[in-house]
């Protein structure tokens, strides 16, 4: 999903000419929608983990790349026909009739250092098999109180495109966030997620991720490329000693760009922290009628998504180093050293506070180095302050009243 975001942010509609502008803007929007749907998948997967008693999981596992399941190594790269090919193959259904599929597959393999790209569908098939084999007792219906639901998380979703029925029946163009409490609901959720990716065999949905990527691929091939920013591949803020077989990374060395990237990472970390905290809190299904501090966490999570959008827009205009090579930085989405959430509620809120304070330090550095965007930095700092003021009473309260998350 993060890879899709990177790809979307690499598009620059403003630099396209004439009629292409609208097309490029549309592609960007469509890929962002796909990413948002992937986020829905991520959240639904957390629900699935919860229902069988597992822990939440936001990390990207390092996986042997030759595994049968992992589609392709995690790679942040600008959109290209090659990267599109990889996305298409990873999302494709088992059978497809599109004529250029062999061409796409071979392009994908080439882009994957010669290794074939796996279908994510295979992974889902395996998980579906697994869930079918579980005992009834393995499903914990009470966990629903701690799961994510569409009402709470389905914010800002775009309406279905023109030409489709606006009926609320679930179709592939909607955000899938479902609580699951049983085998039946778990399997239905898994199948819906899989179908959103690859489409439905009997009734080829127009809006599966597979179909949408293919449509973009076709147009992309025929268009010119200036509307894609020259973003570095896998930009990182920290030096890493590469292991054999690792993908190459691009170290961000321009001082200001580095600070922007660090700020981005910090807000990304805050997003994950808020998300995890919100999912660790009892949801609306048990607290009826009352708002809960969980609401502020959710507002915060969405708020951070908006800031990441804003920061990504700034970062993709920054140079990666001082060489004037023209290579630009991209949002690095580097994970923090730990995603573990403190055990106690007060600790969790303090963790958010600490991240915000860290973010403030980076902002001060950005100002010190004359990084521009002062209006936005002012606005962001004010927002930081407002959040801290709002949670100050929570932080002051040593013994939190019951029900406080």
């Amino acid at each position: 999903m993060v890879q899709y975001l990177y790809a979307a942010y690499s598009l620059d509609p403003a630099s396209a000419t004439g009629g292409e502008k609208e097309k490029v803007r549309l592609w960007q929007q469509q890929i962002l929608e796909i990413a948002r749907e992937e986020m829905g998948h991520l959240v639904t997967v957390q629900n699935l983990l919860r229902v069988v008693g597992g822990p939440l999981s936001f990390g990207r596992q390092d996986c042997p790349y030759q595994s049968d399941f992992y589609p392709f190594p995690f790679e942040l790269e600008a959109l290209s026909t090659t990267s599109l090919a990889k996305y298409i193959v990873s999302e494709m259904p088992e059978q497809t009739t599109i004529p250029e599929i062999e061409e796409i597959k071979s392009l994908a393999t080439k882009g994957n250092a010669g290794k074939a790209v796996n279908r994510v569908g295979k992974l889902y098939e395996a998980i579906i098999n697994l869930f079918e084999k579980l005992d009834d007792g393995d499903f914990q219906p009470g966990s629903v109180a701690y799961q994510a639901d569409f009402d709470t998380w389905g914010r800002d979703y775009a309406r279905a495109p023109r030409g489709t029925s606006e009926s609320p029946k679930r179709n592939a163009a909607e955000l899938i966030v479902r609580p699951v409490h049983s085998r039946t609901t778990a399997l239905a959720a898994l199948r819906a997620v899989a179908e959103q990716g690859e489409g439905n065999q009997e009734n080829e949905s127009e809006f599966s991720h597979f179909q949408r990527f293919v449509a973009i691929f076709r147009h992309f091939k025929s268009g010119s490329v200036p509307f894609v920013r020259h973003l570095a591949r896998n930009p990182v803020t920290m030096g890493v000693t590469p292991e054999p077989g690792d993908e190459p990374v691009a170290r961000i060395t321009n001082q200001r760009s580095l600070l922007w990237a660090q700020l981005f990472n910090t807000r990304y970390r805050l997003l994950l922290s808020l998300l995890a905290h919100a999912l660790h809190a009892e949801g609306p299904i048990t607290i009826s009628g009352a708002p809960s501090p969980r609401g502020r966490l959710i507002a915060g999570a969405f708020g951070e998504m908006y800031q990441l959008r804003a920061l990504a827009g700034i970062i993709v205009r920054q140079p990666i180093d001082d060489s004037a090579s023209g290579v630009l930085c991209g949002p690095p989405f580097e994970l923090p050293y730990s995603l573990a959430l403190p055990d106690l509620p007060s600790g969790r809120w303090k963790a958010h506070r600490d991240i915000l304070m860290g973010s403030d330090l980076i902002i001060e550095q950005l100002r010190h180095y004359g990084a521009g965007e002062t209006k936005y930095l002012d606005a962001l700092q004010f927002q930081n302050k407002a959040f801290l003021e709002q949670i100050a009473p929570i932080l002051r309260t040593l013994d939190l009243p019951t029900g406080i998350v």
């Binding site: 803007r25 709470t152 597979f210 293919v214 708002p291 708020g303 959040f387």
Partner: protein, 449 residues
């Protein structure tokens, strides 16, 4: 050397709002400013340059910036907002309008009394319901050329003999060398409530209406002529009016000046309504937006992030003063008075909160607006144009439909609020969208030959 001709006059502003209050001391001027455009905070309300009118002479005795903002006087009465109207003029050889002054008059051999004013204000609230023309409360002052303060007594055939409802005052301000502009001031009424003879309990200021008049005890027939909402008068819950009236009014002020045998004229509208009790906050959708759209059409020429931020700011200012938990339909204590109850009562939409109940605490809702506002400060184009309710989607009461923006608030049609088409078009333009409709992604599988 001949003086440039006066070609036209205008009375500005074309629509002035007075706000009721019983104090003899009109409200001072104040400014409302955004102290820092980068944040959503409170606008600052600061005393501003105030003109002091000497009511006896009709002239301005001085101007000053008050030390303190006082909406009420020492007795606790609200100080009425009493707007000035100014006469502006366009001269030959100068394309712009400028304020007409005493000097412009005298150098053309004219006097202030050559400017004639006439006033016509009215309150037709009873008439609107009873359809009885004798229920119209009217005040006409056909010609004012002096600088006295003229009261505006509202007269009605169905009033007790001799009774009137005072609608306030008007005064043609005497222009002087120190304050040479041509001004007219409308001072609204005290905000009193009036009733028919013999009304009990005595929860009103005075009895003015005949106890046997059609408005007293008017039985509401319902039907297609009803106002919407209906029954919004004292006694409305019983279907029978108690015959109460107020001293709000609206009307027209005309101004006329004869120059060289040509009569130049203009008019403006005035109205008197309740005070703006949160003067540092402004509504999302304003009369200004209606006028803009009526003048310039539903399509905008452009839209910037700042335009969108203005809308976000006003949305923030509204929700901030609103109990969003109750407005959302959370089952706090009973169902509460909110749109979700209306949905059930009006059309049997089953009662349910609009947004997930745990997410609507006022501070969380404020936060979302703040985050959006902050992100827009980076010039990232708005990403949320399609989350707004379009004008013809007010019928969509599904969960999706009710969650569109603006949320929880009522529109002029009684359903959920939609922005004006022009406001939404501004957001669309700022977002870089050609259209709010987006084409469906094309099918990847080629069509059959």
């Amino acid at each position: 050397m001949s003086l440039p001709n006066l070609l036209e006059i205008r009375l500005l502003p074309p629509m002035a709002i007075g706000r009721l209050g019983a104090s003899d001391d009109p409200m001072d001027n104040y400014d409302v400013i955004v102290p820092d455009a980068r944040r959503l905070g409170w606008r600052e309300v600061k005393p501003a340059l105030t003109l002091h009118v000497d009511v006896a002479s009709g002239g301005i005795s001085g101007k000053s910036i008050p030390n303190k903002l006082s909406f009420k006087d020492a007795k606790g009465f609200i100080r009425p907002l009493s707007p000035f109207l100014e006469v502006w003029v366009r001269f030959q050889e100068q394309p712009e309008l400028v304020p007409l002054t005493l000097h412009h008059l005298t150098e053309r051999g004219l006097k202030p009394s050559d400017i004639r004013w006439s006033v016509h204000v009215a309150n037709h609230k009873a008439f609107r319901r009873t359809a009885n023309a004798a229920d119209k409360i009217e005040c006409r002052i056909p010609e004012i050329t002096d600088h006295q303060r003229h009261p505006l007594p509202g007269q009605c055939e169905n009033f007790i003999k001799g009774a009137t409802i005072p609608f306030g005052f008007v005064q043609y301000i005497q222009p002087t060398d120190a304050f040479p502009e041509i001004r007219f001031r409308f001072t609204p009424a005290s905000g009193y409530v009036y009733a028919p003879e013999g009304s009990e309990p005595k929860s009103f200021h005075a009895e003015v209406y005949r106890k046997d008049g059609p408005w007293a005890g008017w039985p509401d027939p319902g039907g297609p002529l009803s106002t919407m909402p209906g029954g919004i008068y004292y006694g409305g819950d019983t279907g029978k009016s108690r015959g109460f009236l107020d001293d709000a009014c609206d009307g027209i002020i005309d101004v006329e000046l004869a120059v060289n045998g040509t009569k130049l004229s203009s008019y403006a509208r005035v109205m008197a309504g309740p005070p703006a009790f949160a003067p540092d906050s402004f509504p999302i959708r304003r009369i200004f937006d209606e006028l803009e759209m009526a003048m310039n059409g539903p399509q905008s020429d452009g839209g910037t992030n700042q335009d969108v931020q203005d809308i976000v700011r006003r949305a923030f200012e509204s929700i901030r003063l609103m109990n969003t938990t109750v407005m959302n339909g959370n089952q706090v204590i009973g169902h509460g008075s909110n749109m979700t109850s209306q949905d059930s009562n009006d059309v049997n939409r089953y009662f349910a909160p609009i947004m997930a109940p745990s997410t609507v605490d006022n501070l969380a809702v404020q936060a979302i607006h703040e985050y959006v506002f902050a992100a827009l400060e980076s010039e990232v184009p708005p990403w949320f144009a399609q989350t707004f309710r379009r004008f013809n989607e007010i019928g969509d009461l599904t969960d999706t439909g009710r969650r569109r923006m603006p949320a929880m608030m009522r529109g002029a049609d009684g359903r959920y609020l939609a922005l004006t088409r022009r406001q939404l078009d501004i957001i669309r333009m700022a977002s870089g969208l050609i259209s709010l409709e987006q084409p469906a992604p094309t099918r990847a599988t080629p069509p059959l030959p």
